[in-house]
Amino acid sequence: MNGFLMVVALVLPVLAGLMVGFVPQIGLHRKTRSIFVGAALALQCLIVVLIALGGEKTVVILHLSENLPIALRSDTLGVIFSLIMTAMWTASAFFAFSYMTHEKNEKTYYAFFMMTLGVLMALCFAATLVTMYLFFEAVTLLSLELVLHERTKESIAASIKYLIYSVAGATMGLLGIFFLVPNTTSSYFVLGGSLNVEALTVAPSALLGVLFLTIVGFSTKAGMFPMHGWLPTAHPVAPSPASAVLSGVITKAGVICVIRVIYYSVGVEFLRGTWVQMALLTLATVTVFMGSMMALNESLLKKRLAFSSVSQVSYILCGLFLFDRTALTGALLHVIFHALIKDGLFLFAGAVIFKTGYTYVDQLKGLGRKMPVVFLCFTILSLGLIGIPPTGGFISKWYIAEGAIAGLSHFPVPVFTWLVPAILLISALLTAGYLLPVSITGFFSQPDEEASQAKLNEVCEPCRLMTVPLIILTLAVVFLGVFPNLMIDIFDSLAALLV
């Protein structure tokens, strides 16, 4: 049953997207289309929940050759990612029903929006490296439309940049897949990896180099230095609900691929303490710090949020590269919290743009008093991202930092032991530095010019389709921050199997 449901989880959104795209009765009429997309997403949520409850099953879709199955498997990791992705997708879609009314060509937007969800589901459930690669590429190609939706020169240039980085990253990943499949004992993912260390066909040093490139390649989607360049360009030019899923969800597509390669194919023991781990940790911590600094420096709100994603997703990667049980739990927690928070923050930016057209932080003066709900949500989400208890971000960062200290205690280069936690903490402070001024400007400043004062008087809260998803996300961050135990139990027992 679960095998069938996984195929449905892939096919249903793709089919829904195609119908929006090609059936004029559905695609062209706004109300029908919204109901159709909403219903499809509700059904999709139901299916993903059913898969989560149904236990682990494997289904083979196609054989590329005898030992190259294209297969899906509903394992714990896949279920975790698919649940959060579908939830975020739904929130963004309901926001978009109202937001996209001021954009052109809504039909195409929803068509590709839905299809991207379908291939993302398949990416989560991918049971082999090749399946993962296939759907990774598909995610890139389909989400391209979301970036270039506005068809301006700027967005086309951004989408080409996105394409170039992503394809380069994916083929770097493919390089590793070429080497891993003949050198692993199982063609499927195995908890803890299945590298055939005794009988490698290539020198271990060469394999390490290849694996480094592979992980950096898949980290492209997660925006890790030096492959981060596309993210701050591509995310802000998309319509806000699309930026929300690009930043909150699609970056996690890179994260899951990295987890699959390190923890499900290679196994941490082969990499522990090598130069590869050191180099990856260095890159991730550099990105954490660099992203925050760039965000601090940026006055365009959506771009600031994009830089923030660069930094925050590298927290997750940092947790993954520590090869430690606690850190891995923290990374998985941060996947959830960052998805919720960054989705919410971009929806906030969308709400502001929809109501006022303002895009720069210093334009927001006094706006908080006119849109208190939206700004309050933003403030709470910001506190979450900074990591102030009782919001969720605190827990995930705590676990990562604790894991860093534990995981690096025997590290060959002692400087990492204190440098990594230190940078994570400094970056948290920087997060406060670039997010809180937005709230402060909104609530406490007065606009300077009379024109903007006059415009301010006309502004009110956006409609419920916009505020409700934002409120739900905020409540979720707080609720999961106060009651994290269920999640922690699941993630911790998964992490115990992987490390």
């Binding site: 590329l64 391209l144 068809r151 086309i156 070429f178």
Partner: protein, 483 residues
Amino acid sequence: MLIFAVLFPMAAGALFPLFRFKEDKSRGLYVMAVVLITSAVALPQIILGTAAREILFQITETLPIAFRLDGVGRIFAGIVAVLWPLSSLYALEYMQHEKNLDAFFSFYTICFGVTLGIACASNLMTLYLFYELMTLITLPLVMHGGSQRSVRAGLKYLYYSIGGAALAFIGLVYVIYYGGTTEFAYGGVSVFTAGQTEHNMRIGYLICFFGFGVKAAVFPLHDWLPDASVAPTPVTALLHAVAVVKSGVFAIIRITWFTFAPALLAGTFAQYIPLALCVFTIVYGCTMALKEQNLKRRLAYSTVSNLSYILFGALLMTSQGLRGGLMHMVYHAVMKITLFLCAGVYLQKGVEYVQDMRGLHRAMPVATAVFALGSLAMTGIPPLLGFGSKWALAEAAVFEGGLLPVAGIVALVISATLTAFYLIIPSVSTYVSRGVKAYAPGELSSGWKALSPLLIISLVMMFFSFWPMLLTDFITYAAAGGL
């Protein structure tokens, strides 16, 4: 029957001047009839296999001109026999406004027989004979446009090919002198693997490799190929993506695996030098393709790169590698001909450069869709065709280990990335960008004769993407020396 399949189109093509067709229609019927009869005769033998060895005549007692189909030959002959009728149909539509059609189709038809002759050759002597013939027959096709550019391209093609053929001839002499027979046998002729002449033989192989390497467009012998893309598109599509260049590759597979022995060559300079050149060519071709703005020249450079994929596989000297190479030989033929046929459709409507493709999907929805599909396949997005062969090649190289095979895998990956840049980005731009001029919907759509080969080939492409075993099982068998 092999003799018939080889000689019939040659004879029918040579008889063209007798008929002096007045009408396009009757000429078209004649060409299609000849091509279809030949394919109909050839295909059953290719599919079912035949052990018969047919001798045309004897040059000397030990040097017969003879035909025989083995596994590898069946693969090449199969590609040719399937793709020729389709691109002939396309050529009839494409060329209808050109001059001198009798000459064009005469050579186009003769070339079919010659290519089958190469595929079915039972020994190196026969292969060499038809290989030379091919150069001469295709030359007028390259020059068909008559412009100064095409004449110059033709001459360049001629000089390169004759030079290559001269080297190949020296290799042939080596084979006759040391081996006594030029007959093909899987795993090479046993005489070569022992004795004091090994070193000489390896040198002979290298000379031969560079000789046939001209048509296979190995760096630094590749330069004629991009220039030759000035020829009419049916010629570029069929000859410079399939028949001519694959003959070069096929000849190298023949000398490596069926004349000189892999056992003789593996692990020596005679393997390393060609292998290193191929690895370099893979990256070089792609880089040049990225730089090139003329669409047909870009595709030609892409061919340069892809031919070296095939050679890389064959030169790994393992049957797994040969399998990957043969797979890419088939897949590349299908994919590249699709892209070239699209490029031809574009060119007819005045779209010659990559930047002209912007916003084109409105004007010609079918061709741009097929082009996009072909681009994805060339890049190797699974489960489309290109992925399977790249996978097979990389897998073989991983099992081989060693410096050059690993370098080869890195080259494959770099090349895949660059392929995405030079093909997928233009494809995307056909859908999103606004060009210099705004097209009306369906403004530039073409006739069914031009579009139906496109659609048929892309259907074939999709079919083998999802059911590759039908083909790969046979290729595995052929690469292991099966008939």
